[in-house]
Symmetry: C2
Subunit: 139 residues, 2 copies
């Protein structure tokens, strides 16, 4: 069924793809306010984590752990925020966000807090390169 | 070290205890806008999920799954929102929130969206009783 997966157009529009882990596509949000990864399991028609078979739930949890660890190492952030919300875009996706006490929304959660800010291309490309080095994604 | 755990006073003030799972204390938020559970691993000095030993991370994920399943069965909600944020109260805690398309904040995330509303005692007591039946907590 994997080949029936397609990324929701809103997620595609709001992110840059980093690459794929075995279960999840890994995306970087186009928002320079915070280094912000989004993991999307490459399975069709999922809304809740608990819609996955149990083995894949555990695999997803492992990939969230990998993404959070990579983000922490690359950004030396103060706090990680991890969430599965999906009230607007129902395709199952998990946010992993690196927060700093000096960021634009701190201490509020990031969703809807402040408008997204565009990355400077060199900063974005350096972050993507660092994250690709820290996380075993394949193109 | 388990005996050095104590619940953060802000979490204690904002919730009613449902009982304990093997790893986590399970709390019900005092907010009638949404059935809202909070899981707090009974370990001292934790901030991130990834501060737990790996076996306990997996145990926590299993308990999140149990809590989410119980909440879904009891409330027949439209969507589950699951998050570890902790920017304000740093003690590790995981939110599991039952959302309805008719609730006060939909589709926004619940944090900071609208002021908490007090439960009527009979509605709160019924919800607590139903959740205790659905989830293997011990007092």
């Amino acid at each position: 069924m994997t080949d029936a997966f397609s990324l929701h157009p809103q997620l595609a529009a709001d992110t840059v793809p980093l690459g794929d882990l075995p279960l999840s596509r890994v995306l970087l949000a186009k928002d320079a306010n915070y280094p912000w990864l989004i993991l999307v399991p490459k399975r069709p028609a999922l809304t809740e984590i608990f819609d996955l078979p149990e083995q894949e739930q555990n695999q997803l949890f492992g990939e969230i752990r990998q993404a959070a660890g990579a983000l922490k190492r690359v950004t030396a952030c103060d706090k990680l925020n991890i969430a599965a919300i999906g009230n607007v875009v129902s395709q199952l996706h998990v946010h992993v966000v690196a927060r700093r006490k000096t960021d634009a929304a701190w201490p509020k959660p990031v969703w809807g807090a402040v408008p997204a800010t565009a990355y400077a291309a060199d900063i974005r490309d350096k972050l993507i390169a660092d994250l690709r080095n820290a996380l075993p994604v394949v193109p």
